[in-house]
């Protein structure tokens, strides 16, 4: 373990709240997010979303295109700040954090998986996976060791030195998942993780996410695929920037 990893800090989670119940991974109260277009027109991407996602949950966010799913994911992932409303991540109100604090929260608490993988092109799988640990000040040796373990966990122990261009889409997405995992996050946010994959590779990725969830990591994914959504224990349906249904 590195010297400063999980040493207290706002990201230390699962501390019982005042009621004694565990703190949820996400707690959103009336979140809105509007964008001002160049012409000055306001676009309300989210119009008041309230939800709770507990530790270790597996939730799918579904809804038509343009309904605000990605916007919601960005807010949950602390990549963006709400226009109004309150968001607590592991009990920490993100409004109290500055940009560096948010970056730290992302680094320690959240793992991202993107539809288009977002791997660094000229960089080996190992170094791609190790990247989040760079921003945590973990030593190089330890980074490599943990990245290797993460790649082995996603079944890519034999692809350590491969570059993204030398791997299949499914393999690339598994590298991205390994990268999301390497920092031991409490939540994994995946925006259409199977969107660019064929059925077989998509199946493999889903299996991986389920296994991770079984290991205690909360998984929130956005999907258009009903079959994928059906595998989640909870489905959150978004429409026009609001939650239409939550089952």
């Amino acid at each position: 373990m590195s010297r400063d990893e999980r040493a207290g800090g706002p990201a230390t989670a699962a501390t019982p709240g005042a009621t004694g119940a565990p703190v949820p991974a996400f707690e959103a109260i009336s979140l809105t997010r509007s964008y001002r277009l160049d012409g000055g027109v306001l676009v309300d991407a989210l119009r008041g979303v309230s939800l709770r996602i507990g530790q270790g949950e597996f939730a799918a966010i579904v809804g038509p295109s343009g309904s605000g799913k990605s916007t919601l994911m960005h807010l949950l992932g602390c990549l963006d700040r709400p226009t109004s409303g309150t968001l607590r991540v592991n009990g920490v109100d993100v409004a109290t954090l500055d940009d560096a604090g948010l970056a730290d929260l992302r680094n320690r608490t959240i793992g991202f998986v993107f539809q288009s993988f977002h791997l660094l092109a000229r960089t080996s799988a190992l170094d791609n996976v190790a990247l989040p640990l760079v921003y945590r000040g973990v030593s190089r040796a330890e980074r490599r060791e943990r990245a290797r373990a993460a790649l082995e966990a996603v079944g890519l122990g034999h692809r350590l030195t491969h570059r993204p261009s030398q791997m299949s889409g499914g393999e690339q997405q598994r590298v991205a998942i390994a990268r999301a995992l390497v920092g031991d996050p409490r939540v994994l946010l995946a925006d259409e993780p199977t969107g660019n994959l064929d059925t077989r590779n998509g199946e493999e990725v889903m299996g991986l996410l389920e296994r991770l969830n079984a290991g205690g990591v909360a998984v929130v994914l956005v999907t258009h695929d009903a079959e994928v959504a059906a595998r989640a224990r909870r489905q959150i349906r978004v429409r026009d920037g609001r939650i239409e249904r939550d089952t």
Partner: protein
Amino acid sequence: MRTAEALRMAVEALRVNRLRSMLTMLGVIIGVLSVVILVAIGTGAKNAVEKEIAGLGSNIILVVPGQVGLGAAPTQSRLDLADVAYVRRVVGDPSKVTVAVNSGEPVRVGRVEVFATLTGTDENMPHVFDRPLRRGRYLTETDVDTRRRVVILGSEVAAKLFGDVDPIGRQVTIAGVRFRVIGVYETVGSTFGVARDQEVHLPVTTAQRLIGLPRINGIAVGASGPDEIEPLRRRVVAALDARYPGETFSAVTQTQLLGTIGTVLGMLTGVLAAIAGISLLVGGVGVSNIMLVSVRERTKEIGLRKALGARGRDILGQFLIEAVLLTTIGGVIGILTGVGGALLIQAVSPVPASITWWSIVLAFGVSAAVGVFFGVAPARRAARLDPVVALRTD
């Protein structure tokens, strides 16, 4: 993020775009190179002149009538040999005071005629100035007292008049008067455009008769040590002012000459360096430009890094280090080629070049500063990118 890590990333980024990095560096290289070379040449020129001045001898004070300075009108000398004797008494050590009477005359041997600078002086000249003889002897007190018609030739005059023949004991004709050669000086080069190897020395008394005036042009005093120069200078000037109330006398020391010339050449070097510095600045603009392009190209990467937990200052550091690395590597290459170029110029041309450690340290410091200065704007732009927007760009 650790600095070592940021450095590794920067090296990697520069390596990926090898050609582009090189071309960007080229601007900085040329700038640093010209600074190093021009400063070397300027310093070399200054050293050469200082060596010339020092070559006169040490601790010399030149006393001349009137005001010395640029634009000052030449003054008709009213000094004569009695004044030299007076200054000798003031100084105390008569051997440390010598005299000069100057005139330009043709010197002839048979059909060969050479135009030379005649300098009437005395037996103390070698005690004050550093003027080694190649052959023969210096003037003696008797030469001066008896107005002997003897001359000591500068090496160039001797070579032109006599070629390989030993001139000692031979005759030369100056203004119809025959002189016997008693010595030949070593080659000493020129000082302030005065070609000292084209001088012909003769007793001051003989020179005065030849010219037909009992005047002298100047008195030279040798101080016993560097600390003695200034008090002695003041004493001599005060004594002359007292003797001739209402008239001005100037006493110039080597230190003053060195100071004045050093200042002029220093300014010249500064101007040259500043002009070269402009090209360094242009190189910096190139770095800024390329860094902006790089930030744009890597917007997505920046977004990703932020999503994974990079703080604004991590991104800022990454790009700033990249810019500084570009300019410092360029700076080091520029210094090496500049030093090489200066040495080459030194070797193949008469231009003196002298490499100074401060110009190297300065060049390195400035190139690093250029990196910071021109890297900051692109790096800040990168650091401020909104991760969501950045991730979405392609």
